[in-house]
Amino acid sequence: MASAMKKNFAANLVLIVTGIFIFFPLYAATEFSLRNGAEHTHGFAAYRWIFAQSGFIENLGITLRVTSLAVVLNLLIMVPTVTWLHLSGQRYKRLVEILTILPLIFPVVALATGAQLAMPDFMQNSVYELSFFYVVIAMPYTYRALDIGLSGHPLSTITNAARNLGASWLKTLSSVVIPTIRPSILAALFLMVALSLGEFTLAQLLHWSTFPVWVTNVSQQNVIGATALAIGSLFFAWILLFGFSFLGSKNSTTVQEEE
């Protein structure tokens, strides 16, 4: 009993100390972002500032279009591949895992320089080249999201069961497979969107003006505005993720595999 209390105390202590470490930088930056500059008062002026800058809609549009293509590419390439891996390609899983973790190892600077050396002109003249590279950069995360999500369900078992019960392949896909893997697909797509909305280095090195690039350039003369943007997007992403985690919980009942 005493040791259980001690264990709980230790656990709580760890959480509290880390909480302090995490809290103060966030708090300090938030306080700074709420300043009204010369007047030494506080307010949300800095948060409204970016919306009033000319170029906001134009650059946001560019990023949204690039993101849309990236999402479509992800759907076309990652989803069928991972589904196939779970249905009939288990022996190739290790290989694909290794392949998809490679983009983590290579610095983005390397990819950008290599891209300019290698890619043909017609690709380099279109901003949509970014979509293709974003799919590559996101691959370690989207693959894992899809893989872990699908692992929670014995996909082969239920597809076989559906087939046994007489369902055609079309019906199996639409009524069994897709609803089962939908939360994983949504998780992977969410990661893709989050990366694309915030990716800066590659876009700038390839000389494109996307939303993150434009925001960085425009914030150079406004330190409070830049901080407000960083903090604002941080909190926004957090709220989204937090809310999203409640959405997924209904469908993601993990089924224990029997050995």
Partner: protein
């Protein structure tokens, strides 16, 4: 009836005359602005402005808005001529500019560059074709001979002096570099403006520190030694001296180009931490001028040349906020004469334009902003490009040992 006939007569006469004009005018469409080498070859200012407007855009690169008042130059050019300016990576370096010319696809090429002297050898390509297209602006003769290429490939635009920028709330103002590094009153105050192994401005700051401590343009080690001592004393903070770090209170003073002054003062005021500038009383380091050049692969050739003419114009005229709709309808040359010239825009940014001497003689120069006067006690030092190359090799090996 008579009125009607008069109108018809007048109209036909006008058509006849304009037809004659079109027939006898030089074949303007035949001018290839990508090979034009001066204003005469372009067909005059009217023609150049017309062609530039037709191109609609201009690509510039690594130009911060608060650097030498470039923001005003960009706004004025865009307002007056309706040409959209795309600025690639405003905070980038000169090497980034040359790298971009070498590797970027056609649509992403910059039209013009503003580079530091150190990247010039790479750009001129010993043994291969130079990256620049020759062009001599209208005020070419006012540019000092040592700061322009005889063929017009590159030309100096402005230079600056090293100044101390400091927090207005410091108990006393740091008036000399030596005091800044040694006086205990400035504990935790001084940061270098960047990494001297990659930033030209920081390297020049190191030269200034060297000069204040017995070094010279050929001996930068005393500067590094002085910083080592300042670090031990606590005066030197090893963080980049930029506006974000300043607003966060990481440092309180740095040395930077005087032409960064007006912009930095405005940015800091907006962030609630007023900044002041002063030229140090012990060292007046004069930097080598930055250089302008037109890219041979420029996608907007006429706009590029108009931009250069604009930057080297010595006019005193209207600023970006004073342009009216009526002004925009004026012919190219009239509009050009109306607006403030680039050389004077730089003066307003506390920079020293390259044609300064000629402008002072011709009395076409505006007043410089207050507070950037050079103290008489300051020792003048101006490291040449060769001296810079020599000393930076030492910096690259010694700096990480700080």
């Amino acid at each position: 009836m008579r009125a009607q006939r008069l109108v018809v007569a007048a109209t036909s006469a006008a058509i006849l005359v304009s037809g004659l004009v079109v027939l006898t005018a030089p074949a303007q469409a035949a001018v290839n602005y990508c090979t034009v080498q001066n204003l005469q070859q372009a067909g005059g200012m009217d023609a150049l402005v017309k062609a530039a407007k037709a191109e609609k855009e201009l690509n510039i690169i690594t130009v911060p808005r608060d650097w030498a008042n470039y923001g005003e130059a960009i706004d004025l050019f865009t307002n007056a001529f309706g040409i959209k300016i795309n600025d690639d990576n405003p905070e980038g370096s000169s090497a980034y500019e040359i790298q971009t010319i070498k590797t970027a696809p056609a649509s992403k090429q910059p039209d013009v560059v503003d580079i530091g002297v150190s990247v010039l050898p790479d750009a001129l390509g010993i043994g291969r074709k130079a990256l620049f297209a020759p062009y001599k602006v209208a005020t070419w003769n006012d540019i000092p001979a040592e700061w322009k290429d005889s063929n017009g490939l590159w030309y100096g635009d402005y230079y600056g002096l090293m100044a101390i920028s400091y927090d207005a709330s410091l108990p006393k103002a740091p008036t000399s570099i030596k005091a800044l590094l040694t006086d205990p009153a400035f504990k935790g105050a001084f940061a270098l403006s960047g990494d001297p192994t990659s930033s030209q401005q920081a390297l020049m700051g190191l030269f200034a520190i060297a000069a204040a401590n017995g070094g010279s343009a050929t001996n930068i080690m005393p500067g590094i030694e002085a910083l080592k001592a300042a670090k031990a004393a606590g005066n030197f903070v090893s963080v980049i001296g930029n506006s974000a770090n300043y607003a966060a209170g990481a440092y309180k003073a740095t040395i930077t180009w005087d032409f960064n002054g007006p912009g930095a003062i405005a940015t800091s005021a907006a962030a609630g931490k007023p900044l002041k500038f002063v030229i140090p009383s012990d060292v007046a380091l004069q930097g080598t001028p930055y250089l302008q050049a037109i890219n041979t692969k420029a996608p907007h050739c006429a706009a590029a040349r108009l931009w250069e003419e604009f930057l080297y114009s010595q006019n005193i005229g209207k600023g970006s906020k004073d342009i009216t709709a009526a002004d925009k309808k004026l012919s190219g040359s009239k509009l050009f004469k109306l607006i403030m010239g680039g050389q004077n825009i730089w003066v307003a940014g506390a920079a020293h334009p390259i044609t300064e001497a000629a402008m002072i003689k011709k009395k076409t120069i505006v007043d410089a902003p207050e507070g950037f006067a050079v103290p008489k006690t300051a020792k003048r030092i101006a490291p040449s490009p060769d001296q810079q190359t020599e000393q930076k090799a030492i910096v690259v090996t010694e700096w990480p040992k700080l």
